[in-house]
């Protein structure tokens, strides 16, 4: 799965868990929290949504890997590849 596809997935999930967030102009290398006014509960919702949709398990200590769209793509790439291959 390409990086852009993963970024789209994350933005799609953010639009669901934080309906007020304006996701059309999100920069890939800036922390999502700083651009979108997301709090720790919003990130928890993203984690739950990723589990629900793609059966991906993200341990608590790895939540910081979801900080930016770029880091999401790098971190989730191998995980998504593993579940789609299974």
């Amino acid at each position: 799965m390409g990086d852009q596809r993963i970024k789209d997935i994350i933005l799609d999930i953010i639009a669901v868990v934080a309906p007020d967030a304006e996701v059309s102009n999100v920069k890939s290398d800036v922390r999502l929290r700083d651009q979108l006014d997301l709090d720790s509960m919003d990130f928890l919702d993203i984690v739950m949504e990723l589990r629900k949709r793609y059966k991906i398990e993200i341990p608590k200590e790895e939540y910081p890997e979801l900080a930016t769209l770029d880091s999401c793509a790098a971190y989730l790439g191998p995980k998504l590849a593993a579940v789609t291959a299974a």
């Binding site: 868990v17 309906p19 509960m41 928890l44 984690v47 739950m48 589990r51 629900k52 059966k55 398990e57």
Partner: protein, 479 residues
């Protein structure tokens, strides 16, 4: 014959939730929406835990404890419940203080508090700004050695009046004291300061009715008047619960009962490591509360005197005096007809913090006498603000730590759960017993209504993760 509260119960659920406080209700809703079969058991005849209400003859209805919460509840209710529920949350704009040090009215947000601190208390604007930023920046993972007392001393040395304005409302909101870790103050204070104090329009009865309807729509099996006697653990794994003498199997249990009771009574210390048991025993419970409920006679009106009144005759704020049986500090929650649109009724609920020990050991005769005294002194205190209130009161009754124990089964009638150390024990529970989780009022920062809802979601995430793992491994075994 007693009705069978467990009629048509299934023999196995993915998750059993014990207790329908706000954390239990919210976790139930999240887990059902994740697709798991969920059974929610409540021992009382109402759902809601401390978020509850009661009716009395004469058309009176009283809310026990949903007297104000931070704006964050709007977002959490919309995300984890429904838009209809979050749209019913409205601001309380008239927050009053009246004590020997100052009298003022505020919207209870950062902007207005800054104005008051600078203009009326003469504090330097930079100091106020630095204090708010420090409180806002507090995080659970921070150093927890600084106490709230030390935090205030750092920014406002010798200013007991400033300490009172900043601390008194939070002591009522989460039971924290000056000697608790500053973080237990800072997080809750900042939540309120972001936009003020809010309440549910329609009353607690409507809120819980809407939540119950949503749970049913999402397929949660909800039962009341079912007391869970025991959580069944075998080989370090949860197998089910015994309730009303009946075994119900499950893959996970989420206890929204008191943390200490969950460990000592529902499971039993023998199922935990000695180190964990020691930690669990060392968790301190928070204080309890006393309340006086005053229903105004039909046809009578009360003038608007504010929504929430923090009153005290104590010379200074004092965490110990705040719980004393000889009550000197009270919060009056005013219920005007617009609380419940369509109703024309008024009510006043007086709340004070209290100690279990002051009330637990009284003889029945002394207990009744003390309750009567509490009622009398409370009405007398309210007469300062509403001189003719005594003649307008149609129904009055008091609740004490014993009342809270009776209805909630919380150890020592605790109305704010446990002290700070309870959070770690609550979070460590699943590492001790596979499939056992706890959510509820722990560690003060997870107390208060916003903390309760959000902690319910945080733990629901853990339960969901475990259920997914179990489903995957069973799927593999079957294939």
């Amino acid at each position: 014959m007693v009705a069978d509260r467990l009629r048509d119960i299934k023999s196995h659920y993915d998750v059993v939730i014990i207790g329908s406080g706000l954390a239990g209700l919210t976790a139930a809703n999240c887990l059902a929406k994740c697709g798991w079969s969920v059974l929610l058991l409540e021992q009382h005849y109402n759902f809601g835990g401390m978020a509850t209400w009661f009716r009395r003859p004469g058309g009176h209805i009283f809310d026990i404890s949903l007297h104000g919460f931070p704006i964050g509840m709007i977002k959490s209710c919309r995300k984890y419940w429904t838009k209809e529920i979050s749209d019913s949350i409205v601001q309380l704009k008239g927050i009053r203080f009246d004590n020997p040090q100052f009298q003022l009215q505020t919207t209870f947000d950062r902007q207005d508090f800054t104005r008051i601190l600078v203009e009326e208390f003469g504090v330097a604007p930079d100091t106020v700004e630095a204090f708010f930023n420090t409180a806002r920046g507090m995080d659970f993972y921070d150093d927890q050695t600084m106490t709230t007392r030390e935090l205030f001393e750092k920014f406002f040395p010798g200013r007991s009046d400033v300490v009172r304005m900043l601390m008194e409302p939070i002591a009522y909101a989460n039971g924290s004291t000056l000697d608790d870790p500053a973080i237990s103050y800072g997080i809750v204070f900042s939540n309120f300061m972001s936009k003020g104090v809010y309440i549910f329009r329609g009353g607690t009865d409507k809120l819980i009715y809407m939540m119950r309807r949503e749970l049913k729509a999402n397929g949660v099996d909800i039962r009341k008047q079912v007391l869970v006697e025991r959580i069944v653990v075998e080989d370090g794994k949860v197998r089910g619960v015994v309730a009303n003498d009946q075994f119900i199997g499950c893959g996970a249990v989420l206890s929204n009962a008191n943390l200490k009771t969950t460990i000592s009574k529902l499971v039993g210390y023998d199922q935990f490591t000695p180190q964990f048991t020691k930690q669990a025993k060392a968790v301190r419970l928070n204080n309890s509360s006393c309340q006086v409920f005053m229903g105004i006679r039909e046809g009578e009106k009360l003038d608007y005197i504010g929504d929430l009144l923090f009153t005290s005759v104590d010379p200074q704020f004092d965490s110990v005096r705040l719980c004393a049986k000889d009550v000197t500090s009270r919060t009056f929650s005013m219920y005007y007809p617009d609380t419940r649109p369509g109703s024309d009724r008024y009510a006043v609920v007086s709340s004070t913090n209290a100690n279990w020990d002051d009330w637990a050991h009284l003889s029945e005769q002394d207990y009744q006498k003390e309750k009567q005294r509490l009622i009398e002194t409370t009405i007398a205190a309210l007469e300062k603000y509403i001189p003719d209130v005594r003649e307008k009161i149609d129904h009055v009754e008091a609740a004490t730590p014993r009342t809270f124990y009776h209805y909630t089964h919380q150890a020592l009638g605790a109305t704010f759960g446990t002290k700070f150390e309870g959070l770690q024990v609550s979070m460590d529970l699943p590492k001790q017993i596979h499939g056992l989780f706890h959510a509820g009022s722990v560690g003060i920062i997870m107390s208060g209504w916003l903390g309760a809802i959000n902690y319910g979601v945080i733990v629901a995430n853990e339960v969901d993760s475990l259920c997914c793992q179990s489903a995957n491994s069973q799927g593999r075994m079957a294939s």
